[in-house]
């Protein structure tokens, strides 16, 4: 199977046992969810189970609209116990399920399984505990990212800040290990989750960690974060929060080219400065964003570099002066330093609008999320230019420059015959160029369905086999978000070796697989 099997209306109808081995099996008749639907209604209340086509269509895609699959039923549980009841019912019926937060993901990670159950966690949005003394917050998975920072303001904040933070949920962030503009300094979701309550794919409830850090044993918590919904459903999440920095200083500097701006980034980082955020836009994205926001970016600039330092006043001031002189020495065409919070917001407006503004360049675009070692920037940008010319497409570049996370936007017009396919092929070669430079196929959006075809570029068969061992430990029947992450379906098989009866099994607490 290649990576394109999941397109509108043709999702695999996976039933009992492992994913289908043959096309024939994948295309068999839809499953009758009838008896399961009754169980779901009993579990969460009839009004929280959707089965009508018009209701189901709402959930057919996440933030990546290229993919659409209609689920068999959508269920909205309101508590851990209800999630557990839903997952248990799916387990008994042999029906796959997909958990979904806000559906803002960009890799098709929350794409439903046809005739499967979609579990929307949108009703579970309670903030359960705000413990400022211990700098922890405990939330349900449907709480939005921004709500966490709001709950702990004004003295603390929650650092991971994906650009969708107003709508995206913590549950989704945990699944995707979300980053954001500030992760070069502050890290990712995985660095802030200290505890998880999980409903495993067989309905078992497990607690990993809590408010305390470093529980003994293998870091199962760390293995779960970023597993894209394939290991179970997080129903309660313990998060670490940190004091808000004393001060923030922001500037935008304009350069002749991204390569020149990239050298400035290297200069800043190698002088021991760790910016809170360091973001770059190329000329095409500047033009698009400027037409959209009027943030005052010169439209003839080759590159815009947004640098933000935060921290203690004393440290920040000294370092900020250093950054200004590095930009000057490198021959910046102009530098704009934010003198107020309002001016800072204007600087950020252009960067944050870049994706949305692409509509001014072309009706459609593919966004990639590849990462490169920062020192290879010039070489990779050269290769992207080459590919853009070869495929006769415009490619805009917006990226988190500190950590080398590129977001090349391959622009196309879907109404021109064959252009979407050309854009997709071009985007694929960009990903390959990044991996060849020692990078990754995805820095923050996740693999989902969209990038699983690229997994073999990065990982050998043996590597994928090791991933599968983890998957099988959590989900031997592979019913939690099947068809994501792994490039091709793999079987779990029985655990070989001597049968060892587990103490919990003896006590009747656990069932063996």
């Amino acid at each position: 199977m290649d990576g394109r099997e999941v397109t509108a209306g043709s999702g695999p109808a996976w039933g009992e046992g492992p994913p289908p081995e043959t096309e024939e099996e994948a295309e068999r008749q839809p499953r009758d969810l009838g008896p399961l639907v009754d169980e779901l209604r009993a579990a969460v209340g009839a009004e929280h189970v959707f089965t009508h086509q018009h209701q189901l269509r709402t959930y057919e895609s996440d933030g990546l609209l290229q993919y659409a699959v209609t689920p068999g039923a959508v269920v909205l549980p309101d508590s851990t116990a209800e999630v557990q009841a839903v997952v248990r019912a799916c387990h008994r019926a042999g029906v796959p399920f997909v958990a979904r937060g806000a559906g803002s993901g960009l890799s098709g990670g929350a794409l439903p399984v046809e005739d499967g159950v979609l579990i929307s966690l949108s009703r579970m949005r309670r903030i359960l505990d705000v413990d400022l003394d211990n700098q922890r917050v405990v939330v349900e998975p449907g709480v939005t990212n921004i709500a966490v920072s709001q709950a702990v303001a004004p003295d603390h904040f929650y650092p991971p800040d994906p650009s969708s933070q107003i709508v995206c949920t913590i549950g989704g962030n945990v699944a995707e290990n979300s980053g954001g503009a500030h992760c070069f300094k502050y890290g990712f979701t995985t660095n802030y989750v200290t505890g998880l309550e999980l409903v495993l794919p067989d309905g078992e409830l497990v607690r990993l960690g809590g408010k305390e850090v470093d529980p003994p044993g293998p870091d199962l918590l760390g293995a779960f974060v970023g597993s894209e919904g394939t290991l179970g459903v997080a129903t309660r999440i313990w998060l670490r929060i940190v004091p808000k920095p004393e001060t923030v200083r922001t500037l935008v500097a304009f350069f002749g080219s991204p390569v020149q701006a990239g050298e400035v980034v290297s200069e800043i980082v190698s002088s021991g400065i760790v910016p809170g955020a360091i973001e770059m836009m190329d000329n095409l994205s500047i033009r698009a964003a400027e037409g959209y926001t009027n943030a005052g970016y010169p439209t003839d600039a080759g590159a815009a570099l947004v640098v933000e330092l935060d921290g203690s006043e004393a440290e920040c001031e000294t370092r900020f002066e250093q950054v200004v002189s590095i930009c000057e020495d490198a021959g910046a065409d102009s530098i704009k330093v934010a003198q107020s919070e309002a001016e800072r917001e204007v600087i950020w407006q252009a960067r944050k609008a870049a994706f949305a503004a692409m509509g001014r360049i072309a009706p459609n675009y593919y966004v990639q999320d590849s990462v490169i070692p920062r020192t290879r920037l010039a070489e990779v940008l050269g290769r992207i230019d080459e590919l853009a010319r070869e495929y006769d497409l415009q490619v805009a570049n917006v990226f988190h420059a500190g950590d080398g996370n590129l977001h090349p936007l391959v622009c196309y017009d879907g109404s021109n015959a064959g252009e979407a396919e050309r854009a997709e092929e071009c985007a694929g070669l960009i990903v390959k160029a990044c991996v060849d430079a020692g990078g990754s196929i995805t820095g923050e959006h996740g693999v989902g369905v969209d990038k699983k075809r690229y997994m073999p570029e990065m990982f050998s068969d043996a590597d994928l086999g090791a991933f599968q061992r983890l998957r099988c430990a959590f989900d031997p029947k592979q019913r939690s978000n099947p068809g994501k992450v792994m490039p091709t379906p793999r079987l779990c098989g029985e655990v070989p070796g001597p049968y060892r009866r587990h103490p919990l099994e003896e006590a009747g607490v656990a069932e063996r697989f």
């Binding site: 305390e212 070692p373 061992r469």
Partner: protein, 352 residues
């Protein structure tokens, strides 16, 4: 060389123990029939100065890697006590030091890993870039696994700039309550500490806050003001290496007991009270609630029991004759899951 170790794994007599420099053998559980050493895997494969990353074979002594990084003004922000330890051993045991407060532990610094599984399969996860969400984060699974899921062959790590200058603020008191208040004041302050530690020894305690960077001294002075307001005796120490070395040293006891406790910040006075009453030394990360209690001589079992009645407490260094579970009681669900993972990675249970 890595291939040799991978090939030896399925051949060796079980149970097999993978070891590095052997600086933490007292933490091990069970007697191996065969030991496989990572000593031959001692190459610093890459130091990508401009990217602030490095690739190290498992047997590289951490101190040797740090020397190399320091030549470029960089560090791997992992500073556990023993200087002979290998990077593989540090990661496998999830050991850490005072830098844990600011930079996280091995789980936060390892960005990629190559391992050999019990059947000899060599597999990697992650990569060499600091931002990467492709595939499962198996590296984290191996952090703290004590080699029971496979042998770590190679790790990719992210590095940080070495601060040009450091200064520490120290607040001393004999009152656990005052020390607890002082620690909370600092952990909640808008200052950027590279370390926020606590110490208790011989009836007296201290809170230590370390700052590094272009303005280390002014930040230490700001911390000193907060400590004073919390009602403890304060001083600034500019030449502070020895102070922090002592914190690391207190995490080991050659012949006695060391227990690592995962607690909350607000539990600190209670923990200090236990250390005082039982004659133990305490060194810990005040802002993380992570503490090492050391008791060279005395009622070892009693200390373990007192701590386990209240917190998750792992026994590390262990005096001869003290029979206790290393990890204490885990959540039954977490235990079940850990067993399922073990069954998939090492189905025959060959690795200890």
């Amino acid at each position: 060389m890595a291939g040799d170790l991978a090939a030896a794994l399925p051949e060796a007599d079980a149970p097999v123990r993978v070891r590095g420099a052997g600086t933490k053998l007292a933490w091990a559980r069970g007697e191996p029939a065969a030991e496989l050493s990572t000593e031959g895997l001692d190459e610093i494969v890459e130091h990508n100065v401009g990217d602030l990353t490095a690739v190290l074979e498992a047997g590289v002594p951490l101190a040797r890697a740090q020397e190399k990084f320091a030549q470029e003004g960089q560090m791997l922000a992992l500073d556990p006590p023993d200087r002979g330890a290998t990077i593989g051993g540090v990661v496998a045991t999830n050991d850490s030091g005072p830098l844990r407060s600011r930079y996280g532990g091995a789980r936060d610094l390892v960005v990629g890993m190559r391992v050999a599984l019990a059947d000899g399969t060599v597999a990697k996860s992650g990569g060499k870039v600091i931002k990467n969400v492709a595939g499962y984060d198996l590296g984290k699974l191996f952090v703290g696994s004590f080699g029971t899921l496979g042998a770590i062959l190679e790790v990719s790590v992210r590095l940080h700039p070495l601060p040009p200058d450091t200064a520490s603020a120290v607040g001393r008191s004999e009152e656990p309550g005052a020390l607890g208040r002082a620690a909370l004041a600092l952990s909640h302050a808008k200052l950027e500490q590279m370390g926020l530690d606590v110490r208790w020894e011989d009836g007296a305690g201290a809170i230590l806050a370390r700052f590094g960077g272009a303005a280390a001294r002014p930040q230490a002075e700001a911390a000193q003001r907060l400590l004073r307001e919390a009602g403890v005796e304060t001083e600034i120490v500019e030449d502070d290496d020895a102070l922090w070395q002592a914190q690391r040293d207190a995490q080991r006891s050659p012949a006695g007991l060391v227990v690592k406790v995962s607690a909350l910040q607000t539990d600190l006075p209670e923990l200090l009270g236990i250390a005082r009453d039982r004659g133990a030394t305490l060194a810990g990360r005040a802002g993380l609630g992570l503490h090492w209690l050391r008791l060279d001589d005395g009622d070892h079992a009693g200390l373990v029991e007192a701590l386990r009645g209240r917190w998750t407490a792992a026994v590390l260094d262990r005096p001869a004759g003290l029979e206790v579970e290393r990890d204490g009681t885990l959540d039954p669900g977490a235990r079940l899951l850990a067993d399922r993972v073990k069954e998939r990675f090492d189905p025959e249970g060959r690795l200890i």
